[in-house]
Every structure is written in C-alpha cells, then in structure tokens.
C-alpha cells in the first residue's frame, strides 16, 4: 500500500465537518468539494505527478482532519487553504520513490464498441442544431478542418472562437452523457 493510501482513512464525522466548513448548504458543499478535488488533480498532474488523484485525496484528508482546529479562526478563500496543504503533500511526494504509471486504457475492441454505442445514444439526445454542429466540427482533419470550421462559423453566424467553445461545450455534454451511459447500460 502506498503512503497516500495509508493515510486515506477518514472518519465520516471529519468528512461531514469538512463539507459543512466549505458551505453550510450540503448541495453547494458537494459542488465545492468536487471543484476543489478537480483543481487539485489538474495542478498535480501538471506538476508531473503520476498519481494525482491519490495525492488530491491525501490533501483533502489532511484538510478534513485540521478543520476542527481552523474552522473558527480561518479567514479568506477556503480553497486556497487546500492549495497550501497540497504543496506540502506534493513536496513529500517528491521525496518518495516514483509510483508506477497508470496502466494504459484498455484498447479492448469491446470497450470501444460500448463507448461507440453510448456515443450514438448521446448524439440522439442532442438538439438538431447541436448535433449538426458537432458532426461538422469533427468531420475534417488538419488543414481541411480549418477551412471547414471557417465555413461552419459563417453558417452559424459566429466567430471561430465561439464555434470552438460551443462545440467543446457540446463535447463536454457528450462526455458526461457517455460516462453516465457506460455506468448505467448493461452491455
């Protein structure tokens, strides 16, 4: 078991205290927790950590244990407190032996086909306009892509930057839909 895993024994009351410290409203506290965790992972990955999810959880565990001591006295953006603790965790990580890399995503044809089936389902859920945009956005390669995207942007009466953002937002919805589909569908 890695050092991070050893520390990952957080009591429920500590976790609840952390959430209520982040926000008294449980729903907003959950969202804040997810945001902080995602940001920790993104930063740790950008710093070259091989196990950013593990280190992010270790950071959150440490903060959760300290909440009881700081909740009355802490002033300022609570998210920034996580950043400070994360720096310590990262510093300790650099002194440890390198963990193994995350294994490559399974290139199993079956998994690919399942994702493909979910993609089809999720495409069907898009509005006609969104579907048309995403189909055309991903249709061309390299130089052809640039020309095509200019044409699509003109058709939709938007700038290239806006087209990109709209397409990526649809892509984001597709991603969430596919992940949900893969979890729910019995293949």
């Amino acid at each position: 078991m890695s050092p991070a895993k050893k520390l990952h024994i957080l009591r429920q009351e500590e976790f609840d205290r952390l959430l209520s410290w982040l926000d008294p409203d449980p729903r907003r506290a959950g969202l804040a927790y997810e945001k902080i965790r995602w940001r920790l992972i993104a930063i740790l990955a950008a710093r070259g950590c091989r196990s950013p999810e593990e280190l992010a959880d270790e950071t959150i565990d440490r903060v959760a244990r300290r909440v009881i001591d700081i909740q009355d006295s802490y002033v300022g953006d609570k998210a920034i407190y996580f950043l400070g603790v994360m720096n310590n965790v990262h510093h300790e990580y650099l002194k440890r032996p390198l963990p193994p890399r995350l294994p490559e995503l399974n290139n199993d044809v079956e998994a690919k086909e399942n994702t493909h089936l979910c993609l089809e389902k999720c495409l069907d859920k898009l509005t006609a306009n969104s579907r048309r945009m995403i189909e055309r956005y991903y249709a061309a390669d390299k130089q052809a892509k640039i020309d095509l995207r200019k044409r699509i942007a003109t058709e939709f009466g938007i700038s290239l930057g806006t087209l990109r953002l709209r397409a990526l937002r649809i892509r984001e919805k597709l991603q969430a839909c596919i992940e949900q589909c893969l979890q729910m569908e019995p293949f």
Binding site: W38, R39, A46, E53, V109, E110, K112, E172, I178, E179
Partner: protein, 311 residues
C-alpha cells in the same frame, strides 16, 4: 449560451492565453508562470471552465493526430495520468471514428477482425494454449530427431564445414566469380556425403599418409591431381594403435588456410586407417597439411598431422 460564449471570448484575451492553458495541461509552464496560474485556477471559475474545455480539446487533437511529436510525448507521459482523462481520450477516439472519414476504416477493420476471432474462437485461452503446446511439440520433436538420428546431425555438420572455412586461395569457390559475364554454377563445394563406409565416393586418386611432426621431418608424399570435375582424392590417414574415434579431419594449405573438413569420420574395417575424401577440384599445386582430431566442437583433442604435396 451565447452570453457564456462571449464571456469565454473575453477570457481568451485575459492574462492567460489558450496557449498558456494548453501548456499548463502538458506540464510546460515555466517556474515563474506556474504559481500564479495555480492560484488563479483555485479562485477563478472561468479559468477552471477554460481548462476543462482545453482538456477535451487536447484529447481531441491527440486522437485526430493533430499534435506535434513533442506534444504527443508530453500528452502520453504527463497528461494521461488519470482515469478521467483516459476516458476523455476514449470518447475522442470514438468521435474520430464516428465522424472523420479517414480513420473510420480502422474501427471497421477492428470490428471485422473481432468478428473473425469470435467466429473461430481464436480469442479463447484454449486456442492460445493449444498453439503453445503445438510449438513446443515441434521443437521437442526436432531436437529428438537430431539426437536419435546422428546421421542427420552429421549431414548438417558436413554441409556447414566448407562454409565455415571457405578456401581463401580459390575465390570462385568462395562465391565471388571473377568472370562477371557468365553466372557461375556450382561455385561452392557440393555437400559431401557423410564419411560412412556404406557410401564410399568414387576415388580417382588414393594416397596413404602417416602422421608426421612437420613437413620437413620426412619426405612429403606427392600426388598428381585427376582432371575430372567430380573426381575425389582419397587420403588414407594411418592411425596410431591407441587411437579411437570419431574423428575430425581438416585440410589446410601450407599458409594455414582451411580448404575442407569432415566430421564424424570412422576408421575402415581394419581400424588402421581413415579414408578422408577430398573433392579434387578444391586442390591446387602446393603443400597441404591434414589436421586429425577427435571429439566435437565442445571438446576437441588433436591426434596428429599429415602432410602431402600436390604436383
């Protein structure tokens, strides 16, 4: 949505460019840029949204092979470190296969391959196990055949011997014809049959040789070469009383160049001599030495030398 997009457009011109966001994701921000970027990412929801979208964009670019080689390496080594990002890449690849004309064939091919594998059940572990056993059986069978049938091993050794020591004095025999106008057939010595009493080669010339310390110690026996291309010179090597086989003989020139050799030689019926047949075409005028030994490649014992001269 339009309002949000316009807001993003404004963000694109903020203190962090799209290029900086992308460099952050690939771990390429400088030490001076990074602390500010990280702090802003923790406090700025808009920057977070841009980074999230840039993750998808990067995964798409990788799947559509639009990244440079260094960026591809950074992507593989530094970006794909979470299961969530790997899943994003999986969706990008599916989008590529679904909408992009070029790589769509890849999925079709993989589908056909998969169906064929399913059809014949080739993806079952039993098939893999069976193929493994089959290969092992072939290997063991071959090894057993070679061990049980020494004639095969001898034939292989005899075929290899002239190749191991090509006669340096005869370039034609070494496979380098000087006459480029005509292709030279039979330029290497034909494989000699095993030196078995049951298969004696036709000998045109025969000469008995006794062991000698050097070519100067006694008068060197001489022979005249037969003219025929297929003729053989039989060198009868007289054995000492206490010598036993199997024997190995090697014919070398006075300069020490190997001309011909034979393994697993057996003495004749009287056990006093060994017949060492050498193709006449390998011999030229000059002095030769035969080195007689016993054993194989692993343990070889020298039994003596024989000298003769070709006139």
């Amino acid at each position: 949505m339009t309002d949000k997009n316009e807001q993003f457009d404004q963000d694109n011109s903020s203190e962090f460019s799209d290029e900086a966001v992308r460099r952050f994701l690939l771990g390429g921000l400088s030490a001076s840029e990074r602390p500010l970027f990280e702090q802003r990412l923790f406090t700025d929801d808009d920057l977070e949204a841009r980074v999230r979208l840039a993750e998808l964009d990067l995964a798409d670019d990788y799947a559509f092979e639009r990244l440079s080689t260094p960026d591809r390496r950074l992507f593989e080594q530094g970006f794909l470190v979470t299961a969530d990002r790997q899943q994003k890449l999986q969706v990008s690849k599916n989008l590529r296969d679904r909408f992009s004309a070029k790589p769509a064939g890849r999925l079709e091919k993989s589908k056909v391959a998969k169906r064929l594998k399913h059809l014949f059940g080739l993806d079952r572990p039993a098939w893999r196990f069976a193929f493994g056993i089959l290969i092992l059986l072939i290997l063991f069978g071959t090894a057993w055949l070679v061990i049980r049938e020494p004639r095969i091993a001898r034939q292989i050794a005899n075929r290899m011997s002239p190749r191991r020591s090509p006669p340096q004095s005869a370039p034609l025999k070494a496979g380098h014809p000087t006459n480029t106008s005509m292709p030279e057939h039979q330029i290497t010595p034909s494989p000699m049959p095993a030196h078995d009493q049951a298969t004696v080669s036709p000998a045109s010339v025969s000469i008995a040789l006794t062991p000698a310390v050097s070519s100067q110690t006694s008068e060197v026996p001489a022979l005249n070469l037969p003219k025929g291309e297929q003729d053989v010179v039989r060198l009868q090597l007289v054995l000492k009383a206490d010598q036993t086989g199997p024997y190995r003989a090697e014919l070398v020139t006075s300069e020490g160049s190997s001309v011909f050799s034979a393994e697993a030689l057996k003495p004749n019926d009287s056990r006093a001599k060994i017949d060492f047949d050498v193709p006449a075409r390998l011999l030229k005028t000059g002095d030769y030495q035969i080195r007689l030994g016993r054993g194989n490649e692993g343990s070889r014992e020298s039994l003596g030398s024989y000298y003769f001269r070709v006139q």
